[in-house]
Symmetry: C2
Subunit: 428 residues, 2 copies
Amino acid sequence: MSLKIALLGFGTVASGIPFLLEENGKKMTAALGTDIQISKVLVRDENEKQRLLDKGYHYDFVTSIDAIVSDPDCQIVVELMGRIEPAKTFILKALEAGKHVVTANKDLIALHGSEIRGFAEARNQAFYYEAAVAGGIPILRTLANSFTSDKITRVLGVLNGTSNYMMTKMVEEGWSYEEALSKAQALGYAESDPTNDVEGIDAAYKVAILSQFAFGTTIDFEEVRHQGISTITPDDVALAQQLGYVVKLIGSVEEKESGISAEVSPTFIPKEHPLASVNGVMNAVFVESIGIGQAMFYGPGAGQKPTATSVMADIIRIGRRLKDKTVGKPFNEFKREARLADKSDRTSHYYFAIETPDQKGQLLRLASIFNDQEVSFQQILQQKANAGRARLVIITHMMNQIQLDNLLQALADDQEFKLLNVFKVLGE
Amino acid sequence: MSLKIALLGFGTVASGIPFLLEENGKKMTAALGTDIQISKVLVRDENEKQRLLDKGYHYDFVTSIDAIVSDPDCQIVVELMGRIEPAKTFILKALEAGKHVVTANKDLIALHGSEIRGFAEARNQAFYYEAAVAGGIPILRTLANSFTSDKITRVLGVLNGTSNYMMTKMVEEGWSYEEALSKAQALGYAESDPTNDVEGIDAAYKVAILSQFAFGTTIDFEEVRHQGISTITPDDVALAQQLGYVVKLIGSVEEKESGISAEVSPTFIPKEHPLASVNGVMNAVFVESIGIGQAMFYGPGAGQKPTATSVMADIIRIGRRLKDKTVGKPFNEFKREARLADKSDRTSHYYFAIETPDQKGQLLRLASIFNDQEVSFQQILQQKANAGRARLVIITHMMNQIQLDNLLQALADDQEFKLLNVFKVLGE
């Protein structure tokens, strides 16, 4: 008997599924011992149905979720509509009706994942979402399976393809942020409202999900301090290069003495670090642990075929577990109590770019502001003044977020110093 | 009830297992619902036993395999002795006695894997060996699970840490092969007889194993054409850089029209390719497929803790499958008939370095030898003559192995041309 799936939505990712069934059906059928069939497809309205029929898609298109949840043949519901509603309601309905669910919806998982997971687990049903983080990279299943024997200490990721494309062009071609954004929009990598991508929100969603798999800890999206790339200037990019770094938007989750710290920030990455050569729309997740030490998982972060492939891997996984009668096991079995790290325990090196009037004694005065917070300098650079304004660039030794917040306040209170940017710096 | 394991051998890797049990026991116990205990350890003789007891290891050391296979409490036998015998005999004895088996022994898997797998599968017992390829990188399980939905077209890997360390130093520091080898030996990366590492034999073992997981196809080690790094000179390394490449020892398996082609060869990798920045003793496996497109898995290729972590992941996997009553499933369920690719179908770009007397018309004569095989040039470079000898460097367009073998013969037959080196070149 075929494994029957229903698709909610038939946009870019969903239309990658017929491609895989066509091109790779034999391997999937061998793996499952049965073939996979698309039993029904939920579309918005009759117009969309007609448009898809005209395109040659001969599925059973329906316009109501009830037609799917009441279909006894359908075993797995695949949600590919995106956004929160009606996706969330439809998923809960499907679970309630006894269907297993696969989704690629990271916003939904990050914001309502706990609730939906609880609902699914209470019913012994599968709820999988490999494609929600780093699209084509099988990172969630790898963390859930292969890292069981290891204790992860930190995860660092290039998790947003749009902003990484933009940063790559800013680094390699010297483009400004505005140039990079308009090119990304022209190529379809960035939406007309790019906020989620460029302000680190999308990456923060993924960081929240990674935290569950890497540390067994559910973090609310609101707990992920995030900063985007929109303030990065060609000067910052050039300075990074001069000092031996590449600037990337990095999502990080790490376990500190006092708890878990999760954050998204533009970060100076040493040129020789594997994350420094992750370019264009590619994503990568770098895992530090007590056993393996360092590992990196690299691949496309989005796109029709990569995302559809991850979704299909989840579907096959459910099919195999149905056969093995182990389908009730949660996607991620690693769960433990862990609190969030204290601010005093969230440490990093930082880069500060500060503008000041070009007059005597400013460097000394700035050094004294940092010294008041017991923050010391690892590198300092004063650039030639331009129109009476000098630029001071500092890379600090390790400091914590209390020191950071105090420094930001002290600089804001100062009449003469203008803080241009502050980013994290990866280092020992 | 504890999950009881027995270790065969207590060398470097094995002693990483107590480390993981100590430092990560809580997570593993949560994953299994039970703790893991080392029931017995097989050592060579009473001397080794005494030495380990003196070191503070208080296990039940035994000197006969029978003490382990006859122990009804022991569920999993972990073979960490290396080499072929007595490892093979002991593994078969353990399987025969109803024990599940985990090993990190790539030589054994590459040479006798089919036989042992068949023996285990006939008895519905687990035989896992994640650590046999790319030590700390969970690549086999990822290929077996996450790539089920995808069709892999090519796998390229930096699979031998010793030779990659040497190549990295030859590229970055300009060391000769001999300097790199003696340094690798001094650091303990290379053995006193380095043949397996530097001649591509170790990488060829891993290529044979990767072929099963990526293509479902068992390839005999003898079918993996392999060439090592011992003939690479500083001139080759400098030329690669000049032409925009980095030289690496690359293992490859790909599916061609006519079948599977597996090979190990020094290869020119374009500088911007992700494999080009895999340095030192690190390994990486680059996977090309119709769904995900391109993905790379990077991590340590060997070492006590990474290898022990992979071994322990296998042990936990068996423990979980025992609980789920699915332990009889083979490590890799992807199997299909596939023949080896014809030589005419095994295509690549190639690099030729050829020495010739510095006299008129030699380039023309060489071009005509290549032309006779219908091989055309993509790049050609003539270096300044030294002591009456000139050096010609060619990068060819795509050519196949029949053309390659014919060219090698034609150059060997020629009195004046001396073939210094021929390597593969990665390109479209």
